[in-house]
């Protein structure tokens, strides 16, 4: 595992390692991605444990080192999104979390629509597609997956109803997602006319109990103001929507995140002191104010790196004649991870779910191997 991505170049005092240090330029290559003006270099990193063996430096991965160095710092956490630093981890694992978040953490989404009436201008299929993409406020952990031959029941299906009409002679109305009504008792549509009166009507779901009894809080939609359709006077929509559990791999509607991504920690290094007007210019060049001016007294000015985190890699500072005085780098094992949840689960829960899924996968591999 690469080293912790801090600036202090401490060398681990592992017992099997000598007091060897890589030369600076190799250390940079090993731990940083250097973003030159033309192209980034050293993006790959060194995976082989013995890469630097000749110099007496161990490049291997070990659990102890990982446990020692790994760190998570949460920068921001709101209801819908979070940003945290994941330090001391390889890109492949950080990426695995990202990939799992996007594609494999399950959520509930509308999958089946029973269209009773749709006289709006929006075609049935398009309306269904739109409904499918609405984020639902339903904890997927409380539900099971439904397979093709399963009967929809209270454990695998959530039923919503949408019944809006625009009366004749009135103004045009906009149907918002808030009109979706949760039906805890299951479907209200009967499959066919009852054979005998007195029989319980057969509906499209077979709930054995109300979902109200299973669930602690009522289900609904996450955002109330998503436009579903517009209705003109005399038009109406009546439908029932069945939501099931699924993963983003199958369809993006099941993805629990709007997006999840990371970026490597920016590191901006001033290679040579920049003073005077050049410093002013450098500060001005940067649109995100990475640099600041240090007053050297008696009118002298020197550019310093103030907010390296803000760097968006516009590379203005490394271009031009003075471009070689600054170097933009990314720390290879420090990830600034962002999760934007769609709302079914809070972002921090999503991440733990993702970890669980990865764990599960690892266990599967181990059990398959043994």
């Amino acid at each position: 595992m690469p080293k912790k991505g801090t600036k202090s170049k401490e060398v681990d005092n592992a017992p099997n390692q000598q007091e060897n240090k890589l030369p600076d330029y190799l250390e940079v290559q090993r731990t940083r991605v250097v973003c030159n003006a033309d192209a980034p270099i050293h993006t790959q990193g060194y995976q082989y444990s013995g890469t630097f063996a000749a110099m007496g430096v161990d490049n291997s991965v070990s659990v102890e080192k990982f446990c020692k160095n790994f760190k998570i710092e949460i920068n921001r956490l709101t209801e819908d999104d979070m940003e945290f630093d994941m330090i001391g981890i390889d890109a492949s694992i950080a990426n695995a979390f990202r990939r799992i978040l996007i594609a494999e953490v399950p959520t509930m989404a509308i999958e089946k629509i029973f269209m009773v009436d749709n006289t709006s201008v929006i075609a049935d299929e398009v309306l269904s597609h739109r409904l499918g993409l609405i984020p639902l406020r339903a904890d997927p952990r409380l539900f099971d997956y439904i397979s093709e031959n399963d009967v929809p029941n209270e454990r695998n299906t959530v039923v919503y109803k949408l019944h809006v009409s625009c009366p004749k002679g009135s103004q045009r109305i906009t149907v918002k997602s808030s009109e979706l009504e949760w039906l805890p008792e299951g479907s209200q549509l009967s499959m066919a006319a009852p054979a005998q009166s007195g029989d319980k009507q057969k509906t499209f779901t077979s709930f054995s109990q109300s979902q109200k009894e299973i669930l602690e809080e009522p289900l609904g939609v996450k955002f109330k103001d998503i436009t579903i359709a517009r209705l003109g006077p005399g038009q109406a929509i009546e439908l029932e929507a069945h939501a099931v559990k699924g993963v983003g791999k199958v369809h993006a509607k099941w993805s629990p995140v709007a997006t999840a991504w990371y970026r490597m920690l920016p590191e901006v290094v001033i290679l040579k002191d920049i003073e005077g007007d050049d410093a002013e210019e450098l500060v001005k060049k940067c649109p995100v104010n990475v640099f600041d001016i240090e007053d050297l007294g008696n009118g002298g000015k020197r550019a310093v790196v103030a907010k390296p985190r803000a760097c968006t890699l516009c590379r203005e500072c490394v271009m031009g004649p003075n471009g070689n005085q600054v170097e933009l780098r990314r720390v290879r094992d420090h990830f600034i991870f962002t999760i934007e949840s769609t709302g079914a689960l809070p972002p921090e829960v999503l991440f733990t779910e993702a970890v669980k899924i990865l764990e599960e996968k690892c266990e599967r591999v181990i059990s398959e191997l043994s």
Partner: protein, 1154 residues
């Protein structure tokens, strides 16, 4: 300035940046440049996109039709001229239909839906005699037929309606009109390009001879006169003569007996005399000195088709009527024709002496554009005359037979001639008018409703007259005179390349204007009539000839003054705005043109290089107190046609100096440079940065893009309609896009594109798409298809019937494929319909030839259901069902079936820069690269698409789009728009990008979605407007194992529609032969095709047969079954043998043992 421009990108408000000042403009005191752009929308508001069509049709409805009727206003019985009918007046009424004895007004949309013709009655006021006493009666509003009405013309109900009213009539406000609705289909009469009539064209023919030709066209006659020089001698060539006639003979025949005068008429220059000398000598050698002798000589050469004798006097009448027929002959005075001939000769000799003066046939000034009004007027004239002559015919027949019945012309006029004649011509596109010797095909075409752009493109299209097969490059080349008139980009590829053209945005095509007032005006301005001048004086030095529409009006001693006066009169609205005044120094002529079919365009008038329009005018325009017509009448703007442009010096911008142009000599200023492009090419952003063929490709492709077609698209009944579900407005727009309304009816989506290689499925322009983007609706489209079923009526009131789906006693459907049916036997809207499902459960009577008299029972009907043929496994939905009775009173059932499709591998996409590509693969979002801001591209394009195509415009579009999304302002990329602020500069865009933390060059730092590591290059990424084209795999995919066979040959069928096999063709066969794969050939050509077992008689070598009862084979030729052998051969081979037998050819098979 550049700094100022940087500041305005924020805030979403468009601040028009002033162009960068040049060295000159800094030095000279210049006025602040005026933002003239507002003139463009003003022009289009007044003139519209298809105003030329509508103008032309209006002219016909208002004036043309009256002229035609007036010219033929009296018909009378042949044997009794006192029985007559007179047309007093003619009008075209409001569109209506005559049905069941009452008149119903109709709307265009109703016609589209019910397969009717949108037409209006032609009402005439007539005066006619009734009865034997010839009592004169008058009748008003007598209908002589129905005229198809052009939408949005003055006779259309939609004329001058606002958006709300249009919506009420089911019409799209953005629809340009200018087309007809005939039998429910929308038909455009394309603009026809032809050589201008009544003008002298000096050219060389195929043999390299110098010729001067005139195509004369008057109401009475059309003729072509050619004067040519062969071996130094000049001849006249006319179709009526068998041989070319020496020109001096013709002059003599017209009364120009003196050779001296003839030469004087041509000109006093001795070089003319030298060139004319051989011709004069030839005439003298034929011993022709007098008019009589000349006429006699010409009589000999007259061509008589069929007739034998009586040639005398023919040539004289030919000279009067056919020879340069457009020159009027008053009281038998042929002198004008003499002068005209002399002018022709002079032009010809000029061309010989100085090859610069040859005319260029491809020069746009020598072209005329025929519009729908003119074409319909020709058709109407013919039909009107036919109708009248038919009436006379009937009158004559009537008067012979029944003398007692009252004779009355008004009863003999049949409406059908005109109604059906017009309808037939417009719906088939065949203009066959014998009277004018006109046989044209494809004049009208179905208006393509594939996309809004396709519709607009059709309306501006110009088709050539001559055949397309010619390989000549001349007419196909881009003419400099097309500047501003015809679009330089928009032309198809392939055989019609360069021949089919499109109008530019601001161009206009003129209609005919009255000549009379112009002639009077010219005379009062000092034009001297040539009839009062001697031959010598015609070409007096310093004086110029004045020609009006190709006719010699006279001469003027101070042509410059005449021209200035006339132009001033035009600018002050005394004469029409479309009159062109053009002084040709080479020809020493002033050409005045008021004829129809010239292209012209508006330009700002400048005095000594200073624009007449200043900011006050533009403020008034923006406030709405001024409109475009005020600019015209105020003498600020005028229309120049291609010829008059040659007298003008047009500056692109007022405030920019050109190094080699004297500012004071500038006469006009362009309104906007983007107006040199047409409507379709106007939607390309930064076209001036692209390689030119790319723009041409885009013009063809923009018409295939799916999107929104019209506001009424969901209420239309087109046979095939492709719609994009979430069509967007392009992030990088152009001014043209806003002008034509493409921002309201877009045909594409803004996709975030990363330019990089990915996955290897992106070679050969293929693109890699993001699955999540597709899940979220990118490129989703709806295909609406119409299926029509007719409920036929037969004799005796027997008709087809539509029955409800048959069920058994449990109520279960008898057939599974009836599940989509409603109880009325027609498919129910909203139902899912699958392959092989019935959509109309129709039954036809067994016996349709004649009725039985009694009501038919169920057993008399046989099922003839309409079965839906779709793709297996795809769910399609019935969108709408429409019932209407068609023109023959049959019930027609139109089912519109909808299919929503998401993009799949193989679907075709294109950006707006002629960069098409198919979807190569679809990849999960998590595998896609992502940027530091979490942006993940919608599609990935391979960078190899750029170097050879050189579509820099696409790169700038990406940059501009990226800057646009980050600063919240739509960026512009109008053609040549950078100096005038109609396109954003790359420098400004880059500074916006930097301000929002992007790299100036649009390249982002991306992480690999698979590895998680950064990519080893910065990736050019940003939004580009992508179009989904109509070519989709679903419609084309085809494969089969074994399947249907053709009945006759027993070979597999051909073509996708018949589920045909894939042919192993000749060349493929050659490969297999060369390779030696004989068993494979045998398998392909025989076993997999049409194997057949035959019995061959070894003795006679003919085919026998197998008797299944006796279980023996038998040769019917040898009358025994002794020497029979079994063999296999292709069925087609057996068929060939039998066919040869039938032709008395005996093929014999000689069999040997192997």
């Amino acid at each position: 300035m550049a700094v100022l421009a940087k500041g305005d990108n924020e805030g979403g408000k468009v601040v028009d940046t002033m162009p960068l000042p040049t060295y000159h403009s800094l030095a000279a005191p210049v006025r602040k440049p005026v933002d003239k752009f507002a003139l463009l929308p003003a022009f289009l508001k007044v003139r519209g996109l298809v105003k030329e069509h509508i103008d032309s049709f209006n002219y016909f409805i208002d004036k043309g039709i009256k002229k035609i009727v007036e010219a033929n206003n009296r018909i009378e019985a042949r044997n009794d001229p006192s029985i007559y009918l007179r047309y007093l007046d003619v009008r075209v009424g409001m569109p209506s239909i005559y049905e069941n004895c009452n008149v119903e007004s109709i709307t265009p949309h109703l016609c589209r839906l019910t397969d009717r013709t949108y037409s209006a009655p032609i009402e005439v006021d007539i005066q006619y005699t009734v009865g034997k006493q010839h009592v004169v009666k008058r009748r008003n509003k007598f209908i002589i037929g129905y005229m198809p009405i052009m939408l949005r013309s003055s006779a259309c109900i939609l004329n001058e309606m606002d958006e709300d009213e249009l919506a009420k009539y089911g019409e799209c406000p953005l629809d340009p009109g200018g087309y007809f609705v005939v039998k429910g289909t929308e038909k455009v009469i394309l603009i026809q390009e032809q050589l201008s009539k009544n003008r002298i064209i000096v050219d060389t023919d195929s043999k390299g001879r110098v010729i001067a030709s005139v195509t004369s066209s008057t109401h009475a006659i059309k003729s072509k006169t050619v004067v040519l020089m062969d071996k130094g001698k000049i001849y006249l060539q006319l179709n009526q003569f068998t041989k070319p006639i020496p020109i001096i003979v013709v002059m003599k025949a017209m009364g120009m007996e003196s050779d001296q005068e003839a030469v004087q008429m041509v000109g006093r220059d001795p070089r003319y005399g030298d060139l004319l000398f051989p011709s004069i000598q030839e005439c003298a050698s034929e011993r022709i000195y007098t008019r009589q002798q000349a006429l006699q000589y010409m009589d000999e050469k007259v061509m008589y088709p069929g007739a034998t004798n009586n040639k005398e006097g023919r040539s004289n009448s030919i000279l009067h009527d056919v020879f340069i027929a457009h020159v009027p002959v008053k009281d038998g005075n042929l002198r004008p024709k003499c002068i005209y001939t002399a002018v022709m000769l002079r032009r010809m000799l000029d061309a010989i002496l100085n090859s610069d003066t040859f005319d260029d046939k491809d020069y746009v000034g020598n072209k005329r554009f025929e519009l729908s009004g003119q074409l319909i007027s020709l058709l109407f004239e013919d039909l009107f005359k036919t109708m009248n002559s038919q009436a006379v015919e009937r009158m004559n027949k009537n008067s012979d037979k029944t003398r007692s019945s009252p004779l009355d012309f008004s009863q003999l006029i049949m409406q059908d001639t005109i109604t059906f004649g017009l309808e037939r011509a417009i719906s088939t596109g065949n203009w066959d008018i014998k009277r004018f010797r006109m046989h044209r095909k494809g004049v009208s075409q179905v208006l393509s409703r594939l996309s809004y752009m396709a519709t607009l493109g059709y309306m501006t299209r110009i088709t050539p007259q001559f055949e397309k097969t010619r390989k000549t490059s001349g007419p196909r080349a881009l003419q400099p005179s097309q500047w501003g008139m015809l679009c330089p980009c928009d032309t198809p590829e392939g055989e019609a390349c360069g021949l089919t053209k499109n109008l530019a945005l601001l161009s206009h095509i003129t209609t005919d204007q009255e000549e009379g007032p112009l002639i009077d005006l010219c005379h009062s301005l000092g034009v001297e009539d040539l009839l009062f001048l001697s031959s010598e004086e015609i070409h007096a030095p310093g004086s110029f000839l004045v020609m009006l529409n190709g006719l010699i009006l006279g001469k003027h001693k101070d042509p410059q003054r005449l021209v200035i006066h006339l132009r001033n009169l035009r600018r002050s609205n005394v004469i029409g705005e479309f009159v062109s005044i053009f002084i040709n120094e080479k020809q020493r002529c002033v050409h005045i043109a008021s004829d129809g079919g010239r292209v012209c365009r508006p330009l700002i008038i400048a005095d000594m290089g200073i624009s007449r329009i200043d900011e006050t005018h533009m403020t008034k325009l923006r406030d709405g107190t001024y409109d475009f017509d005020d600019f015209l009448s105020g003498g600020l703007i005028e229309y120049l046609d291609v010829n008059e442009e040659n007298n003008a010096l047009i500056a692109l911008y007022e405030h920019m100096d050109q190094d080699d142009v004297e500012r004071s000599s500038i006469t006009h200023i362009e309104i906007e440079p983007l107006s040199i492009l047409g409507v379709v090419s106007g939607l390309i952003p930064y076209p001036h940065h692209n390689q030119s063929p790319r723009n041409t490709y885009q013009c063809a492709m923009g018409k295939q893009a799916m999107g929104n077609i019209a506001y009424n698209q969901l209420f239309r009944a087109d046979s095939l309609l492709y719609l994009l579900v979430y069509a967007q407005r392009p992030l990088l727009t152009t001014k043209t896009i806003e002008l034509v309304g493409y921002d309201k009816l877009g045909a594409g989506q803004n996709a975030t594109v990363a330019v990089m290689g990915y996955s290897g499925y992106d070679i050969e322009d293929a693109i890699v798409m993001n699955k999540s983007s597709l899940d979220r609706g990118f490129g989703r489209c709806i295909a609406l298809k119409k299926y029509t079923v007719l409920k036929d009526n037969y004799v005796d009131g027997v008709s087809d019937r539509i029955v409800k789906p048959q069920r058994d006693k449990d109520g279960v459907l008898m057939k599974q494929n009836m599940r989509a049916l409603d109880d009325d036997g027609i498919v129910a809207p909203g139902q899912i319909i699958r392959n092989h499902d019935i959509y109309v459960n129709k039954q036809t009577p067994m016996n349709t030839s004649k009725g039985i008299g009694r009501p038919l029972t169920d057993s008399c009907y046989k099922d003839s259901p309409a079965i839906y043929k779709g793709v297996d496994g795809e769910t399609t939905v019935v969108d709408r069902v429409m019932l209407c009775s068609d023109t023959n009173d049959k019930l027609s059932i139109k089912c519109i079936i909808r299919h929503t499709r998401r993009p799949e591998v193989g679907d075709k996409f294109s950006s707006r820069h002629g960069q098409k590509g198919v979807c190569g693969t679809i990849i999960q979002q998590e595998d896609f690269p992502f940027s530091e801001r979490g942006i993940c591209p919608d599609l990935i394009m391979n960078p190899h698409g750029f170097p050879s195509r050189m579509t820099i415009g696409k790169m700038i579009e990406l940059l501009g789009g990226k800057a646009g999304v980050s600063c919240g302002r739509f960026h512009y990329g109008s053609a040549f728009g950078e100096p005038s602020g109609n396109a954003d500069n790359v420098a400004d865009i880059s500074s916006t990008l930097i301000k929002h933390g992007f790299s100036y060059n649009g390249k982002d730092f991306l992480y690999s979605g698979i590895l998680g590591q950064p990519l080893e290059a910065y990736i050019f990424m940003g939004p580009i407007y992508y179009q989904k084209l109509k070519h989709m795999v679903l419609d084309k995919m085809h494969a089969r194992a074994s399947g249907p066979r053709v009945l006759l040959t027993r070979q597999p069928t051909e073509g996708r529609s018949r589920d045909g096999g894939l042919r192993l063709g000749e060349m493929e066969r050659d490969c297999l032969i060369a390779y030696g794969a004989s068993m494979l050939i045998f398998e392909r050509l025989m076993l997999s095709s049409d194997p057949y077992q035959v019995q061959v008689c070894r003795k006679c070598g003919l085919l026998g047969y197998y008797n299944h009862k006796l279980k023996t084979s038998y040769c019917s030729m040898c009358k025994n079954g002794e020497n029979m052998a079994k063999m296999r051969l292709p069925y087609a081979c057996k068929l060939l043998f039998q066919e040869l037998h039938a032709m008395n050819v005996v093929p014999r098979l000689k069999l040997t043992e192997v």
